[in-house]
């Protein structure tokens, strides 16, 4: 079995790579960092990381010739398990509103909007460790303690995905109102937090993803 981490020039691949490699080694999964659309078509699972601004990441993705088509073939048509991380999750939306409007992949209809906490003392970016509030069970959260007394996930973001269909929100997090922490449908999942930086919770979620058979 193999998993591809899509490299489209969006920063911190090293940590994502190492965290996935650690979980993958236990399961005998091969990890490939790639910017080759053909590899994305051949592997069994796909991870789309992403840090920075939405529009920049979208430009980066478009810049790799044939990548968006390869992702659509693999994920939408072939139904391979897909995990988007941070801006890689936000890109699933219809559009992002960070520094102007940019089109997303529209796999999870919705908009990526600015965080506006309802308490004046809450800072933006939403930065640090927060707990998850699942709205339904999901295989990627299997055996992970969630809720106020559960494990924490590491967040750092100023925008979040407002899903048009509330059923596609798997978990939220509390920060002067609810922020979307995890979205998904069918074989697609995205996390606003960084599993590769979230110690116990993160490594458990990555292991669940590598085992997931949607």
């Amino acid at each position: 079995m193999s998993v591809a981490i899509v490299d489209y020039g969006s920063g911190n691949l090293h940590s994502a790579h190492k965290a996935i490699e650690r979980a993958a080694a236990e399961q005998g999964v091969q990890v490939i960092v790639t910017s080759d659309p053909d590899v994305v078509r051949q592997v069994d699972r796909i991870v789309l990381p992403g840090v920075g601004a939405f529009a920049d990441c979208r430009r980066g993705l478009d810049h790799v010739a044939g990548m968006v088509e390869a992702l659509e073939d693999s994920v939408i048509r072939s139904g391979k398990p897909f995990l988007g991380i941070c801006v890689g999750m936000q890109l699933l939306a219809t559009r992002g509103l960070e520094h102007g409007v940019a089109e997303g992949l529209n796999w999870i209809p919705g908009q990526v909007i600015e965080i506006k906490p309802d308490a004046p003392n809450l800072k933006v970016p939403h930065m640090g460790w927060n707990t998850l509030k699942p709205s339904r069970p999901h295989p990627l959260l299997k055996d992970i303690p969630t809720g106020e007394n559960g494990l924490h996930a590491y967040f750092v973001h100023s925008y979040h995905l407002q899903a048009a269909n509330p059923d596609q929100i798997i978990a939220s997090t509390e920060y002067g109102g609810e922020l979307t922490a995890m979205v998904g449908r069918d074989n697609i999942v995205g996390t606003q937090f960084h599993p590769e930086k979230s110690q116990k919770l993160g490594l458990a979620l990555i292991a669940n993803f590598l085992r997931w058979t949607p």
Binding site: P125, M127, Y154, E174
Partner: protein, 253 residues
């Protein structure tokens, strides 16, 4: 609920920790990666490396340290010291740093903050401010380890860099640094209340009460300390339990 962060900071020179960590049995207390692993296991919320390598030839050593740390620790890592160009930032991020802290380069050229934030996103740009009190209501920015005055008002500067895209402020009181007499709370609060970005308080921690004060009274969202943790005076766990007792939300995973 978002938790307050406790961040140990390691000074790294030529790839080695200055004043090694000695709260656990390490094979090599001078190896930053071993110290990082120990702090990861101890429950630190983030880790900060401050590179104080002086010579240009040895500047690359920090990249190797960051790379090896990112392979072993799955926690957020901030790296600062000597960051002057967007290439410096790119290299650190590619090596596995999550955030990069800029100090002198931002003082000399504010536009660098804008450029960095636009290129890499505000979430990974920390602006470090070293401030000294010059009159009852005024703190000024100092560079070169507190030796060089700039005449710049620290509160105004913080507002300016956040407006330019800094995602976080790392504030060190040069009056308190190394004194163990607690954060400069008036300064911390003045800046924390003036900007929308989160603020890490630094400089002066000697007791666990000081950590509580930084958050409760200084309105910081994170506290950074070095010696009280490195020399085993207090564990990260003890710090968090103390903060929890004082009513602050902390992560005990």
């Amino acid at each position: 609920m978002l938790k307050c962060r406790v961040i140990p900071c390691l000074d790294v020179k030529d790839g080695r920790v200055v004043k090694g960590v000695n709260f656990v049995d390490l094979k090599d207390a001078g190896d930053p990666v071993e110290s990082a692993i120990a702090y990861d296991a101890a429950g630190a919320d983030e880790l900060c490396f401050l590179d104080i390598t002086a010579s240009h030839e040895n500047r690359g050593t920090i990249l190797d340290v960051v790379r090896r740390t990112a392979e072993a620790c799955f926690m957020p890592l901030t790296v600062g010291g000597g960051v002057r160009t967007t290439d410096d930032i790119r290299n650190l991020l590619l090596a596995g740093a999550d955030k990069v802290s800029i100090m002198t380069a931002a003082v000399n050229n504010r536009d660098f903050v804008r450029e960095a934030a636009e290129k890499f996103g505000s979430q990974c740009i920390v602006v470090a401010i070293d401030a000294k009190q010059v009159s009852p209501d005024r703190w000024e920015i100092f560079t070169h380890g507190g030796r060089k005055p700039t005449g710049i008002n620290a509160v105004d500067y913080a507002k300016e860099v956040v407006a330019l895209g800094a995602g976080e402020i790392l504030l060190t009181s040069m009056d308190r640094d190394g004194t163990k007499s607690g954060f400069d709370i008036t300064l911390t609060r003045a800046i924390a209340d003036a900007v929308q970005a989160p603020l890490i308080a630094s400089g002066g921690v000697g007791t666990l009460d000081h950590l509580v004060e930084g958050i409760r009274d200084g309105h910081a969202t994170a506290v950074l300390a070095a010696s009280i943790f490195h020399f085993g005076e207090f564990t990260i766990r003890a710090a968090k339990e103390h903060m929890q007792k004082a009513g602050l939300p902390v992560r005990m995973d």
